[in-house]
Symmetry: C2
Subunit: 376 residues, 2 copies
Amino acid sequence: MSDEFSFSVKAVDGAARTGAITTPHGLVRTPAFMPVGTAATVKAMYPQEVRALGADIVLSNTYHLMLAPGAERIAELGGLHQFMNWPHPILTDSGGFQVMSLAKLRKLDERGVVFQSHIDGSRHELTPERAMEIQHLLGADIQMQLDECVRLPCSREDAERAMRLSLRWAERSKAAFAAAPGRALFSIVQGGEERNLRVQSARELVDIGFDGYAIGGLAVGEPQATMLETIETLAPHLPADRPRYLMGVGAPDDLIECLSRGVDMFDCVMPTRAGRHGMVFTRRGRLNLRNARFADDRRPIDPMSSASAARDYSRAYWRHLVKSGEILAMMALTAINLAYYQDLMAGARTAIAAGRLGDFIAEVKTGWAEGEQADA
Amino acid sequence: MSDEFSFSVKAVDGAARTGAITTPHGLVRTPAFMPVGTAATVKAMYPQEVRALGADIVLSNTYHLMLAPGAERIAELGGLHQFMNWPHPILTDSGGFQVMSLAKLRKLDERGVVFQSHIDGSRHELTPERAMEIQHLLGADIQMQLDECVRLPCSREDAERAMRLSLRWAERSKAAFAAAPGRALFSIVQGGEERNLRVQSARELVDIGFDGYAIGGLAVGEPQATMLETIETLAPHLPADRPRYLMGVGAPDDLIECLSRGVDMFDCVMPTRAGRHGMVFTRRGRLNLRNARFADDRRPIDPMSSASAARDYSRAYWRHLVKSGEILAMMALTAINLAYYQDLMAGARTAIAAGRLGDFIAEVKTGWAEGEQADA
């Protein structure tokens, strides 16, 4: 395996691209969906299951790991790949987003952010330099700069201030990045809903130069159209030969729409979180297994799923287990959702390579629109 | 596969026996440990994992299934084997024990027991006949008579009254048993701590005639010595050519001691429940992964385990996941415990066949006594 981080586009179809990221821990086929392994585990899944369902890379959360069990401890234990028994590529976020959403008593200034752990109230500091150090200790293949993500809607002043701070932090991140062979550093475009701020952010980050470019501050409650416009605005300003990563997105429809606009990488808790709450994604749309109409439904969840749990048991069984709060339901529905997400990405990659992404998307949307009764 | 239920003893070693139960759903090697699948799922395990770790048969709880999703519904959906995707033998209990321990507002009389669901307060009745009907609807390979299990210690009068009632219910159960081909009915010896009551119970049940004999009302808090004495007292009064099933037992040490006294079948929630709470059973004794001394322990839980989770990850990792309340820890530690229980049974079967059960037990106990530091 190569020791170099690289990205190559193999085919394009309109604005969409398919290709591969090479890392020392293996290949990532793009467009890629990264399951979220917050606390060094994709919830309710063995790593080999995550792999078998099609994941090339997982995301893990710096905020959670720095609090428990601690980045230095994970480094002592051989790094995150060994710790979680996932020998394939790992991307870690910077921790900034969770500091904003989870931590108590935050104080943000030019230097960084001081916060209290949501677990035990202990005091911690995250700076661009410390975020780089932690991700280096974890051994992530792809590391993210610390940024400030403002809540939408926000004033232009707030969006600009956060975008400027994130740019300065991007520079400090690059200076602090300990470039072990093959490891990559991605920066994050900010700017809220302001198109010219977004473009400025992208241009200045490209001037600094990074291995990949993320789009942050979206999927925080704004309409899908806002998100798609932002991506369309940004794509021409991002280098074609670097991966583009849309952070925290999204529903299957979001993924389809965004990859068709040139996004290469996604992460989201949606498939795993929804699975733990009785919701599954299928070729025929979503099913909420808490619904009473499944109590006697002997059909499988989706006979075409690559997850055996979707084929070898009835909907009535999963409904019974969801209603009973059984762990096996969380395991199985998580697996079914990850399988669906990965199969959707695989379908998109194949379609882009064949120059028929438009047809593929139309087929996928027809399946959703027909609904589950089409299988009856 | 044979349509007949049968049991054959292949070898004896002292009072211990090894053999096989034949059912239409396959063989059960004895001595056998039955994982508990209360609500039609062995908690946190896919059925194929339970199978791969060595289980020939699982137990499921009539009380839980009659309340949700309902025995008639499971029958409509093809029976319990198909419902839970476990095509191998299943034993169901009668529901009586959980009525006593879980249900509200019980009223027990000659006819049966009326109770309120612990879930929604709905009113239900369980009689010997209804217990047979429910287990028939579920399609269990081995069905259990309804009995009354008194709490220990209890007066001789109470023990005798419950034992006599259980005998009358045994007769009614046999009369009501719908003997589909290959299905078996086991009765349950009661009598509390009174040796002569126990012997009377056994003799009268044998006179009625059942496919197997369970020992009930033990493992309810009494000293291990009391349990072992009861088994020693009873064994000569139980037919050698019928399986003997000790209900609700137990810890690994209990299993070893009881199988060496002639018990063929066990069930217990201990390995699965302990696994969900951070406790694992190993060749070197028990480990409580909540203990801080595991925080930096890079050793696997047990390098000789047949569960890969015990080999491919550090104790530090499982401790982190246990402390974080992660589902994967519950999955993995349950698997490790079931693997240990099944390997213990497999070792006992091999040892009995070789006439060296005493040596095997001594080796097992030496491992526990040496403790985990022996692996350091």
